[in-house]
Subunit: 231 residues, 4 copies
């Protein structure tokens, strides 16, 4: 049995959770899970249906981008995942989706504004949208550069406090400490995009609540003062 | 067997009905059911998945906020539920959700206007939205103060005739004489929010029908002249 | 066995089809089926869950409004159904729903414009919206008067060619030659309301296609020149 | 066994996939699959429920429009399918739907603009909308002329690179090298229509990304430089 069996299985389970959560259509999404000690991550193979995925189908890639184990092609988006693992040392799993309401914001080139406590429970501020990639970035190493513009966009932001991003005219990336939590963050992103879409349709100048309210909610669920859930 | 077995089970069943009704995503919602004679209420434990809930997991809390029975942490929103049981003596159950279309109104800081008979069948007038909480209210005893602004908003309104409210930039609270009926009111709230959203998109100045019509519908289902349903 | 067994069962099956079709929430809808020779119709009992309905629960009412058979209260909307059976001699079944997108148009006090062939396949022109009822009409015999404003609205229109209507600020009525076909018409109404909602959001001045196109579609499915389906 | 058994079965399976994919309501859709060597195509019979379809119900029609095998009436839209097989030599299957968001664009007389990579993965540019048919075209050979305006609209466009179209005020046609792939293209069309609808509601002047980005995505999945999927 592979020494990577644990991350393979965590990766398979998180990928399988995508269609069940309504986050992906067709094969528009993928999850990776990394083992930082071993310096590798497991990632979905490209273009394979979620329901057919087996643990051994996951491709093991190292942080230099070499396939270490696996006979299938890894996801086209592998270099983006790799860039995020390198740029955000606190994360263990990355999820990419084209979830529909979040994509609507990405296509409108807008971040998702913090309009309420549902958002504040998960994201400590607006979920940002990246700049457009240049023609050079697209022609050279497109998927790697996609990771670069994400990391660039997080200058001054903490990826542990805002665990998702919109890539302009493209889709979403979310991350977390485990496959399950990264998928949960991707789902929370779609939910708050849906709520924000409808709030902004009702009132295009809808405002964020006070910082007092959003901080209260974020800190109720995160950090040393968190009280949410069971001990 | 606990003397609170009946409200525990009613509370569990009502919580379990939330995801089936489409009212909650992830764990964004909770139901409580009270026993006024005993001076306590049962409430969902914090952050536990609905499908896993057992009757004995419900936490029993008294009207002073002390946990009377149960080993799990009660919902973070427990003080809000308690405030509503104290402020609205006619109710037996409280439901909190982040149901999506209702939240859109809360994030746009708008009540849900009475635009038709579906609304009038359940709510005798606009479903109001609270004012924003002050920074002091948020930092002191946030969840209790959330209950306070709801009770404040109902000055001059009858909570038995408008069994729901939107908390600004947050979510919904609904209530009723039983867990099942409180969940039904929360569902009716989401349905009328959905209908109002689309009506207002078609016509931002959509008007309420005549009071004659809305009263006729409300009183067909409520009060001594009700004719709806079976005797 | 009741001589009305056939319409009872047809009525039960059509009522049971409502939630499966997504047309009703909670108990917001009902179907009736008539036997014109016998001068009666079967209708859903008031406030009973669809899944629990048995054939023998259907209430048999005559065209003067008297309950002929059955121990349950008939739907509150019974007088509206009766008025439609009297006013539209060609129909055998009436469906009432609060289906959401159609209600949005009713709450915006707009008919559903004919914007495409999906609409034209079912409705030979705009699906009209009634005027508001007067206070007198509402206080006297509200449900009967609801039927009256529908029949009034169809002056100059053929209910066999436009088998549905929106009641302003209320909901929908649809009809047809059988319970199944009336439910299909109610479903087509909701579908075209959904399509029209989104088309009008994209372009508030969206126009009807040529009469040549809509007539071609309507007549492909209806009347002596119909070619759709199997002989 | 019929020599056309393979295309009958492929056609049946693709038709059966339509309601499961959410692309069709009632019986608003059909798929055909052709055998170019034999000069025939299999197509859904008119007005038959998808769940009831058997392989032997598919009607075999030749490229002159004559029924070669089958006892049921072929779909009313058969001449449109035939026109597309003749006009677009590279395709093997055609799908017609009234999928809701795509129809909203067709009813607003707008093509679906390329706003993001989801679109670019499937369609190399805007999905176009046809002109309206003239009264003569509608009265003469309506379904054949529908195919003509589609072929006319593709002057200067490559149907292999934009495998779908909106017929103004009507519905969608999509195509592909197999029944399954044509249905996938029809589903992708509905998904990108849904995303574009919401993006345009957020920002009516939402712009296409750079050609560099859309070309990169299209060519990642199509043509000799494609890298997506497994070898």
């Amino acid at each position: 049995m592979s020494r990577y069996e644990a991350i393979r299985e965590e990766c398979r389970a998180a990928n399988a959770a995508l269609p069940a959560s309504g986050l992906v259509d067709l094969t528009f999404g993928n999850v990776s899970v990394c083992d930082r000690e071993a310096g590798v991550f497991a990632i979905k193979p490209s273009g394979v249906a979620y329901s057919a995925l087996k643990s051994e189908d996951m491709v093991i890639v190292d942080f230099d981008g070499r396939v270490v184990e696996g006979t299938l092609n890894p996801s086209s988006d592998t270099p983006t995942h790799r860039r995020l693992f390198l740029g955000f040392p606190g994360i263990r799993s990355v999820v990419h989706t084209h979830s529909r309401k979040a994509v609507a914001f990405a296509q409108a080139a807008r971040g998702i504004p913090l309009l309420g406590t549902t958002h504040a429970d998960y994201f400590r501020g607006e979920v940002p949208v990246t700049r457009a990639l240049t023609a050079c970035e697209i022609s050279d190493a497109y998927e790697w550069e996609t990771g670069n513009v994400i990391v660039e966009r997080f200058e001054g932001l903490d990826p542990m406090e805002i665990p998702a991003v919109l890539v302009r005219n493209h889709g979403t990336f979310a991350w977390g400490p485990s496959g399950a939590k990264a998928v949960e963050n991707a789902l929370a992103l779609e939910i708050v995009a849906d709520m924000a879409f409808h709030a902004l349709t009702l009132d295009p100048s809808a405002k964020s609540p006070s910082l007092a309210l959003s901080e209260r909610h974020f800190l109720r669920k995160h950090g040393p003062t968190a009280t949410y859930g069971q001990a």
